[in-house]
Symmetry: D2
Subunit: 248 residues, 4 copies
């Protein structure tokens, strides 16, 4: 076990495809979704940020990047299938060792998220004119500090239940949508030594990651997910007895 | 959703390798571990059993076998890596649709189990002269009916904590071992529409599956894991609004 | 431990005050809320029902009533404080022994519910013209059988988050309300050997308990909460060692 | 909601009866069990400690003491029944508002603990020559930092399963006892805005609270249980709609 010192080393990963192919998305996120998230996280004194994207070699997660990452933020959507199984396996092992994972929005279907959940990640969806109101169920949780009873996003993609996840360890937010649906939009799980937070908002054609409350939640989540601990993920040791055993 | 009628259709799967290669194991389980388990389950009026093994085509799980299985019992050990990823994916989908899964002993490292857990399945182990005493934590649970405060297995392989699993939905048994270790030896999880039970006992060189209490627990678990329900595992439907939306 | 035979013995308890004091409520529930619920439960071949109300001696729960009850259904609202602590303590003990409890609507503040939860039961509320839509999160659960993706109640009192409960073992329903709120409207917990289900709908001035889906959920819940098991609630036995101890 | 500044204000409460009546206990804990615990906590730069005992007016918890307490440590045994219901109700409300609670050893039967759990707190017990070995199930948890795979207490009272608690949110320690029993000896729960940790060791006739690992766990637990948040415990507000409602 290694106690690592501050600052928190965050890697923000995104596909970075919509931003290059869709002028509307480019206009909202000229530096990419990863760039926008890295932008507000990087302003925090206790956080250092790097970014990584799908089309870089090893998706930007090769070499020592994962080893040097305390919390990984993930945004994927149209190209989940292009993420290499080998990189996913390495990232999953790092989570089990103690790296935090913040899975955003359409990452409900990212391999790194579904492989840690063991479920489908399935949900209902609709891109329309819905308003989203996120109700805060745990006002004492570190992730909801600075958020009041609820906050609203004037326009967001709708995600609806049933959401194909295991029962969360903690359910922090439930969303109300204009069109009549509800969704577990903020939830945490422990997996091995790692902490995982799923946070729903963030459709690429909307300026969601520029909204103050969304930035607050993600920043809080980074601090919460940073355990400062690293354990071995999978050792299965043969173990000597600690008490006398009978003769064979 | 389909409500399926009784009896419960169980498929008992085992590697069936130790039984062919190790005369000691052959002596204890001449019909294979799958054969021993199918033997006692098949005596129940409400259960019909078939078996399947690693070296059959598609590991015995091809065609309509999984579709016609309500509860899958799994025992693997030395050849987890030889189980095809494609068959594992099909079996996992069936669990998410509502098939029950009973994962036995060394199946803590079976792909079907770890892929549904999202964790390593790691644990401590020792094959020696330990006695195992399983304490019953939930005397009202369907799986523990007929089991008193505890039961003992005179000699079993030791498995010790920490066990690389997510927090169980229900923790039914904790084991005490002579050599000084403890283990969460009976636990349940929901994944999608499926119910999963992990049960620790069953080293291949010991007659564990011939013991009455072990048979009672597995038989109870089969009935508990049978939901009688089948849902689609992963649909992600586009969904029309149920309430009026504002103009774009 | 006693295995009790069918049928399931249900006691439906309600305050029976609004029905006597408010003509609107009398019109909807001429036999009382308990009478309406007992009416539809009593039509089931596997269920026998009796009723009990606040103003009876011992609130109708004295003598052997609780001993002879497998599942207790509870509806209280304006007179929680008039329920005797002694009767609550007896009912709580019976839950820990294995009696099921279905707590309905305003029973979020009933002593029997909050004393088993350990929390406040606090929530937001509004009696207005809201529609309630209950989304089904666990389509494979016994309590949701016969309910599709969701069902609607044309007009109900609004209950909103945060709801002062411990994290449910299983979250079955989340409600959407017209006025913009959400609520965990169906949830389960184990306490001792007993199973507890909280179900939100049922304001006294509305005909909610006459609606088919609501009756289906309550009927399913009674069957689910019936464990058929009775254990001692609280024994704290001095226990002899099962293995040799060192000399003092 | 009030963000409170450091240091963490801890109140250590104990019955302080055995220490006055039993010379053996007096010898081990001349300043009382509360005094011993306050002693090692008070050496931490980020913690300020006061103590309170049963026989003081209001058990030492009157006036503003609870308001000024961030984390309450509780040790009771022979006189649970003498603790006033009114003080317990106040302390419980403070937990729901965000005060941490560390319940030690025989406090499994303290009113403040069982009223927050909603269960009996029942367990098996034996005062004999057992050794206790506490296995660390969550090496990444803040409460287990500085504890390795396990630690041993050379002699402790045995507590055995089944333990009458709700499923813990997190299970940190399972104990092995020489005499053949197991016990969930370290576990956490959220209740309202408060965090609760139950920790098993600490029989009054043994020097358990002088042992380094026990002190480390309790010190870690105090820091973990300090949320720095205060919410209202129970408000049940009438709430205006956030979206337009239909006409009545």
């Amino acid at each position: 076990m290694i106690n690592m010192s501050s600052p928190i080393r965050v890697t923000v990963w995104s596909e970075y495809r919509h931003e290059k192919n869709n002028p509307k998305v480019t206009g909202i996120y000229p530096e990419g979704i990863h760039g926008a998230i890295a932008g507000f996280l990087g302003k925090q004194a206790d956080i250092t940020v790097r970014t990584a994207t799908l089309d870089e070699p090893d998706h930007g997660l090769g070499g020592s990047v994962l080893d040097e990452t305390d919390v990984l933020v993930w945004w994927g959507h149209m190209a989940h299938g292009e993420v290499s199984d080998e990189i996913v396996a390495k990232a999953k092992t790092r989570v089990l060792e103690g790296m935090g994972l913040i899975a955003l929005h359409s990452s409900h279907k990212a391999k790194i998220f579904t492989s840690l959940m063991g479920t489908s990640g399935s949900l209902k969806w609709r891109m329309s004119t819905d308003k989203e109101r996120l109700w805060n169920l745990m006002p004492s949780h570190p992730i909801t500090q600075g958020i009041g009873e609820y906050f609203e996003i004037a326009n967001e993609e709708m995600y609806g239940e049933p959401f194909g996840i295991p029962t969360p360890d903690e359910l922090l937010f439930i969303s109300w949508f204009t069109g009549g649906e509800v969704f577990r939009s903020g939830a945490t799980w422990n997996r091995g030594s790692g902490r995982i937070f799923y946070f729903r908002p963030g459709h690429e054609t909307l300026p969601t990651y520029h909204q103050a409350e969304v930035q607050t939640v993600i920043t809080n989540a980074v601090r919460w997910a940073h355990t400062g601990v690293r354990t071995e993920a999978d050792v299965c040791p043969k173990s000597e007895p600690l008490e006398p055993l009978p003769e064979a």
